[in-house]
């Protein structure tokens, strides 16, 4: 590492889809300590050391073809947010907290619910092949049931199933 390179650290965390608010608050608390999110990938967050800042983080969920994605990001950035990275469909943004009021990415309930529906759609799509395998009994072949991999598959299926329920509850809560 050369002297001009900034100090970075990597942290591993898992946040379930319905805890995106907690995730944003955790990123904010890291920035308060001077560790600013630089890169995000599956379960892993890279932070860069800087001076402590009061940043508000937000996560949006969008999957688009690249030209539409460029336009989407330009719109969000024009309204003051800095795009830091993405993990799957999750887009990570931050803004100085004193500029955050009135800069919310969703200004009405309908479009906020649209985000939750997109998350739910992707969860259901990813559940489909997994649950088909489980329900048709394709995984209960003798060779597979003796390996620990089957438990991993069960755990992932359970997590996705529970996430679907949590997202539905969230949507119902706002639709009421």
């Amino acid at each position: 590492m050369t002297r001009s390179e900034k100090k970075t650290t990597r942290k591993f965390r898992f946040f379930a889809v319905w805890r995106e608010g907690r995730e944003a608050l955790w990123l904010q608390s890291m920035s308060a300590k001077g560790w600013h999110l630089k890169h995000v990938s599956f379960l892993s967050y890279v932070f860069e050391k800087g001076s402590p800042q009061d940043y508000t983080y937000t996560l949006d969920f969008r999957i688009e073809v690249s030209t539409d994605m460029q336009e989407y990001l330009a719109m969000i950035e024009d309204s003051g947010w800095q795009h830091i990275g993405r993990m799957g469909g999750w887009q990570y943004f931050r803004i100085a907290t004193d500029k955050a009021a009135g800069a919310e990415i969703y200004s009405d309930l309908e479009s906020l619910l649209g985000k939750y529906w997109r998350v739910l759609g992707v969860l259901c799509l990813s559940a489909l092949p997994l649950f088909t395998l489980l329900l048709t009994g394709s995984l209960s072949r003798p060779g597979l049931t003796e390996t620990p991999i089957i438990y991993v598959i069960y755990a992932v299926a359970a997590l996705i199933g529970y996430s679907i329920i949590r997202m539905l509850v969230l949507i119902l809560h706002y639709t009421r």
Binding site: D60, R62, Q70, E71, Y72, L73, A74, M75, I76, D78, S79, W81, G102, A103, E104, I105, Y106, S107, D108, E110, S111, G114, K115
Partner: protein, 112 residues
């Protein structure tokens, strides 16, 4: 033509597009036209523009041509019709509201 009542954000997005604008221009113009009341979230706007493109209320005049990250939108003839009939509907709402309020006031002024 008749259509569903426009949501307030949709109404101001269409109003803003009396001139071709890109996303952030629409946010600023909506804010100005509504005297600072309607501040569209960028994600809300992005979703709404996609829906309006599908309904052909708006179009991208530069589509096909090489554009930057920021695409420009403009009202189509259909979009103008939608806006026109919405204003007619709103004017009716105001008229009915005024008539009903006037009747209520009359009742209060000389009770039978």
């Amino acid at each position: 033509m008749s259509h569903e009542a426009l949501s307030e954000p949709s109404f101001y997005i269409l109003l803003s597009l009396s001139e071709p604008l890109h996303g952030y221009g629409i946010i600023k113009n909506s804010e100005r036209l509504s005297s600072g009341r309607v501040i569209l979230g960028a994600g809300t706007l992005y979703g709404a523009l996609g829906k309006m493109m599908k309904k052909k209320w708006i179009s991208q005049p530069g589509q096909g041509a090489k554009q930057g990250r920021r695409k420009v939108y403009e009202l189509t003839d259909l979009g103008k019709d939608v806006l026109e009939s919405e204003v007619v509907r709103l004017r009716q709402l105001v008229k009915h509201g005024q008539q009903a309020l006037a009747a209520i006031r009359e009742l209060n002024d000389d009770p039978v």
